[in-house]
Symmetry: C2
Subunit: 403 residues, 2 copies
């Protein structure tokens, strides 16, 4: 479903989409830094954005574009977040859209704009203008890899995937690129995610599908508990697959939603696994909760605990820190009903840290992927949270980011 | 007020208190690990404990003792937290009290019990029994330093202070020892704090004074956002100063409260400054808030942000991360009304990261103590939060705690 070929195809896998990523000199290291994704056939669009009250200029602008319901393109850059840049920032974000619209022969409000990188600096608009023009010239159906690389910052690799589903006898395709590594947490973070699909779907249903998919994917991952000013997840549906338009919540919608959700979960897992300095990928399954909100709260408390994260980094079996985080999560748990497993091995049960096979535990903690199961024993609702450990490397990356 | 002599005197500075700290072999490194604080004259007592639902056995027991309103002694150990130990844990905590009561010729419910250290292990009760007996034998008016050292875990030094105040023409003395380094955050953490005073004060007023003092001191500090299972702050007031008993909220109470508050703030600052792996002590002043709760919420979001903390560790001027944390704090701030200063230098104002003197900033960030001022421009309420940076050393300490 998410093969290497699919990843390579990325946002260009659905019919009618092209992409490009170019070097505009915005990143200090000279890497690719301006991306354009384009569909000639106008797409229905949906977006979910950061809830941070200090939202970046491009977020303000893109919310307006999503409000129009349709768009032709995404223009994005890495290296400069265009956040905390006031009026100048808004003008610069608008100018990104105006430049792209001119090159693509469309309207400025047909362009989704996104930026990621350092907060508090103005965009170098001369470089940006040249970069956008260059990217538009280079648009191709093989441009997704470059586009993906042009939006990453401290990510160690670009995240991409693609898949297809049959809807009403027609093959409908999905593709996506995403970035995000630090400042990752619920309600999204320094993450950008652009999803393309050639499905024909009502815009309101598209927005509902994206919001629901986000809730169980990007809003269920965390790296460091910080929430960025720039987080944006946008989906463009251009209808090129010519499926019978999805206009209600019937079977077609369910298929569409499940596929979109799988894409989002896949990318959320990749982002958590590539958390800044991560040496472990942790999946926290919380079951037996009275509500999804409770399950998520418990999972997030555990996933955001620096003490839990450093223990996994140190391959140190320390169930006490996990139950401790469950206890302060704010959910009314009952310690005597709670049980915890690391890699399938019970470490806490009926109010007690249990004795476990130390050798078996050593093997479990040496793995890259570790599953933590927390059963609250109170209800029948579950949530899964994705995160990573907290390592020396995280400190190194973030102690000298601007210098 | 908090001189070296005062620190040395610690909990034995008020009349009628003795203390001891001994080696019982509970800490793996062989350091002092069992402490006793004693007053022959029965003391009024007050206590504030962790809100973590997975509270340790000694916390359950000490809450009951505080409910009786009076006590003769505190028995505490480091090296084993006696948390997540179920029925056995409760029995062991009770046994600590029973052993101490026998040695001190008082009732078991006259003994406050506290433990700190690794979660999930049972107390070695043979060692504990010998340790308590040894400590009682060694009780002296010069025992505070040893008692202070016997309750520390990853702390790099023991926290202590003492002071006096004139109440109704009589000198009333206060002394305290405290520990806490990791798992430190609002509503307290792996912290223990024992305060002694020879003031004569009504028990209900003592409880009120402690609760109010805790709110602006220990509940306004954070190291890593974790909240421990064992946090306990206890004050014993034995009345040996023979002041006119404080029975209402008049001037005498105010003097008493202010002095107790100063003690608590002083210790909270010491604990934050000695946060695990800390290289910086950060004071976050939030002003212009509509309520204390809002001011505290903003300050805590900034103080708990790993990105803010690592930036200060790296001596990296990154105001974007600070305003970002203010933005996601959950308080309805207005970016255009918010201003931020590092060491008195404005770094964010009117929605913009401002230009500042880079050389002056370099000097500010090179200091050990850094003050961050955040003015929300919305009201006239303030809060001050104490924290530290996040360093390589924090990871090192916590990655291999149990091994």
């Amino acid at each position: 479903m998410f093969s290497e070929n699919h990843k390579k195809a990325g946002v260009c896998y659905p019919q009618g989409f092209t992409a490009a990523g170019v070097r505009a000199g915005i990143k200090k290291n000279g890497n690719l830094d301006v991306a354009v994704i384009y569909t000639e056939k106008k797409a229905a669009i949906a977006g979910v954005f950061t809830k941070n009250l200090v939202a970046a200029a491009p977020v303000h602008l893109s919310k307006i574009v999503v409000g129009t319901g349709t768009a032709h393109a995404v223009v994005a850059n890495a290296g400069c977040a265009n956040a905390c840049t006031g009026e100048q920032g808004i003008r610069d974000a608008e100018k990104m859209a105006i430049i792209a619209a001119k090159e693509l022969n469309c309207r400025a409000d047909d362009i989704i704009v996104a930026s990621t990188g350092l907060i508090g600096s103005n965009l170098p608009m001369d470089k940006m203008e040249a970069g956008i023009k260059d990217a538009v010239k280079n648009l191709s159906s093989e441009g997704s890899v470059n586009a993906g690389n042009a939006i990453i910052t401290t990510d160690t690799y670009s995240k991409a995937c693609a898949t297809e589903v049959e809807i009403g006898g027609v093959e409908v395709r999905f593709g996506a690129i995403a970035k995000g590594s630090g400042m990752i947490r619920p309600d999204m973070a320094t993450m950008l995610c652009f999803i393309t699909t050639d499905a024909d779907i009502d815009q309101k249903l598209l927005q509902k599908a994206l919001r629901d998919a986000t809730e169980v994917s990007f809003n269920c991952m965390t790296v460091d508990g910080d929430m960025s000013t720039n987080d944006s997840v946008v989906v463009l549906a251009n209808g090129a697959a010519s499926n019978k338009k999805i206009v209600d919540k019937g079977d077609d919608y369910q298929k569409f939603y499940e596929t979109l959700k799988n894409i989002c979960v896949e990318l959320a897992k990749k982002i958590a696994a590539d958390g800044e300095g991560a040496s472990k990928f942790l999946t926290i399954n919380v079951t037996g909760a009275e509500s999804f909100a409770d399950a998520k709260k418990v999972g997030m408390a555990v996933a955001n605990s620096p003490l839990v994260k450093t223990a996994f980094f140190g391959q140190d079996a320390n169930p006490g820190r996990t139950i401790c985080a469950v206890g302060y999560s704010g959910v009314h748990i009952i310690p005597e009903k709670t049980s915890i497993k690391f890699g399938g091995l019970t470490v806490y049960d009926k109010g007690l840290v249990t004795k476990f096979d130390a050798d078996a535990m050593k093997k479990i903690l040496a793995e890259h992927d570790i599953v933590v199961d927390i059963d609250l024993g109170l209800g029948d609702t579950a949530a899964t949270i994705y995160t990573c450990d907290l390592s020396f490397q995280y400190i190194k990356i973030n102690a000298d980011y601007t210098t």
